[in-house]
């Protein structure tokens, strides 16, 4: 899933400065799972923005709505009846959702309430960690299911480097050395002999290297 965190409130308030009518839109998928932009967070942010406004002797007209997803035009369409009664949209979706709303409603400014972080998985309640960088050419089969591109601080494909200490990365004791994890997994899978296969230089064109990417499925168009 895509993870995100709420922007500092003063940044959000600054962006809607001067707007009296706000359409505050949440998303029921990834940002709900990481408790950043779902229905609950929309309600909390609306209350906070209202009280911040009341402090200044003003009240805001805040309309709260949570879409199933903001990255699909069919759902974004549901905002149509509300858009003309808003001076601005504040989107609590990830960057994909914010852009989709902006693309559809060109006359109304759309402001992000979140900072989109990474593609990751949950390590436990309240903890999410980066797992994938969308390189476009998955090599997880070679590394025992642990991604060196997302989880190694230097994205080494033939690690570990000389800074690996006690299974931790040189950048911090809180970060596991991905190659230590890969080596341990290789042992568990009985494929240690594969460690010495050199993984050749990566073709970054499948990743961001060749520019913004698109998938086109002829059978679904």
């Amino acid at each position: 899933m895509i993870t995100a965190e709420r922007k500092p409130l003063d940044e959000i308030m600054e962006s809607i400065n001067g707007c009296g009518r706000i359409l505050l839109v949440g998303c029921n998928e990834c940002v709900t799972v990481c408790a950043a932009g779902g229905r609950k967070e929309v309600a909390l942010l609306a209350s906070a923005l209202q009280m911040a406004s009341m402090k200044k002797g003003r009240t805001l007209d805040i309309r709260e709505l949570t879409l199933e997803r903001q990255c699909d035009p069919e759902y974004v369409e549901e905002l149509t009846p509300h858009i003309d009664q808003a001076d601005a949209v504040v989107s609590m979706a990830c960057g994909c959702g914010v852009q989709e709303v902006a693309r559809r409603f060109k006359k109304t400014p759309v402001y992000p309430a979140l900072n989109t972080k990474f593609m990751g998985a949950s390590e436990g309640p309240g903890i999410w960690a980066e797992r994938c960088q969308g390189c476009g050419d998955c090599l997880l089969g070679l590394t025992g299911g642990i991604c060196p591109i997302a989880r190694c601080a230097k994205r080494l494909m033939n690690g570990p480097c000389g800074g690996s200490t006690n299974g931790k990365c040189e950048i911090s004791n809180d970060v596991d050395c991905a190659w230590h994890l890969i080596w341990e997994r290789m042992k568990e899978l009985g494929i240690e002999d594969r460690y010495e296969d050199v993984i050749a230089a990566k073709d970054w064109r499948t990743g961001r290297g060749a520019g913004p990417r698109k998938i086109l499925r002829e059978d679904l168009v």
Binding site: A153, K154, N158, P160, S164, I171, A201, K202
Partner: protein
């Protein structure tokens, strides 16, 4: 001979090779480079020139290596994969070769977080292993990594770093095997204080016959003080400093500690040269280059062979 490298010639002759190190300055100060290099001239076969070491911006290793070449010294041009993509790296390699630089070291590089530009993009288009493969391909096949022909390919003597003391220890022999597979010609190890552990690693190397496929140069760094010994023991990742060594340094009055550090250094060299598979020494006397002549002489490694 694969190259014209003086270091290769010394190693191939069977004589113990000696390399030193020169860290370029944090400014456009050519004289600083020349002064450091002058201290080493005649006492080492080649001089490593570091590349934005500890992720702090310094005069590029390319520029500093050119100065060394102009002084008729032989640089080991260090290149980290952290700061450049493969175009820039290959361009620098043929550029360096055009300046008469024919020996290089392929490294990943310390993470930017340790340096003065933690906000920089961490490139790593290639890792050090893939860089070794790339240079090997440029030299032996005359092809760029992308496949096109190189006009007058660079005949680089290819080196890498080896760290017998990093974790996990059980992987450290396999890592050297991997670098050999990638095409490395010589390695310089992290500085050695725990000679027992080094001997264990060397045994593993010999068991696989790797000492016959790659030249191994033992890393040496003289300690200046007990404080330095403690710092290296506790704060530097991938470093193994035995307690006895710290005690020995601390057991000597402060004004005598530097000399004790040099003495320990000489004793280490004596012990290490007996180990089968050790082809030479890489002396990293950082900001203490003036001690290299004493170390080389007392270790019986002076004068350097004329190849």
């Amino acid at each position: 001979m694969k190259t014209e490298s003086v270091l290769e010639k010394v190693l191939a002759s069977g004589e113990l090779a000696v390399t030193g190190e020169c860290g370029p300055p944090r400014g456009a100060l050519p004289d600083v480079v020349k002064e450091k290099a002058a201290l080493l001239k005649g006492y080492v076969d080649a001089v490593n020139v570091t590349d934005n070491q500890t992720a702090m911006v310094r005069m590029s290793s390319f520029a500093a290596s050119v100065f060394l070449r102009q002084m008729d010294l032989h640089p080991v041009f260090q290149m980290v994969t952290r700061d450049r993509n493969r175009l820039a790296m290959q361009g620098d390699i043929i550029g360096a070769y055009s300046h008469g630089i024919n020996t290089m070291l392929c490294l990943s590089g310390d993470h930017p977080k340790f340096g003065d530009h933690a906000m920089a993009a961490n490139v790593h288009d290639l890792d050090s292993m893939q860089l070794i493969q790339t240079v090997r391909g440029m030299r032996d096949e005359g092809l760029f990594q992308g496949g096109a022909e190189i006009k007058n390919p660079p005949k680089m003597f290819i080196g890498a770093a080896a760290n017998p003391f990093a974790d996990p220890f059980e992987l450290r022999v396999a890592r050297l095997a991997k670098k050999v597979k990638a095409g490395v010609d010589f390695v310089q190890t992290q500085c050695i204080y725990n000679i027992d552990k080094f001997e264990t690693w060397m045994q593993g190397i010999r068991d696989r016959g790797l000492h016959e496929q790659v030249y191994i140069m033992a890393g040496i760094t003289p300690m200046k003080s007990a404080g330095m010994a403690r710092y290296m023991k506790n704060k530097v990742p991938g470093m193994d400093v035995p307690d006895e060594l710290v005690k020995r340094m601390a057991g000597v009055p402060k004004d005598k500690q530097a000399q004790e550090g040099i003495d320990i250094c000489i004793e280490s060299i004596e012990r290490l040269r007996q180990i089968e598979g050790v082809s030479g020494f890489h002396i990293m006397a950082i900001e203490w280059e003036e001690k290299v002549p004493e170390i080389v002489k007392r270790a019986g490694l002076y004068p350097r062979p004329q190849v």
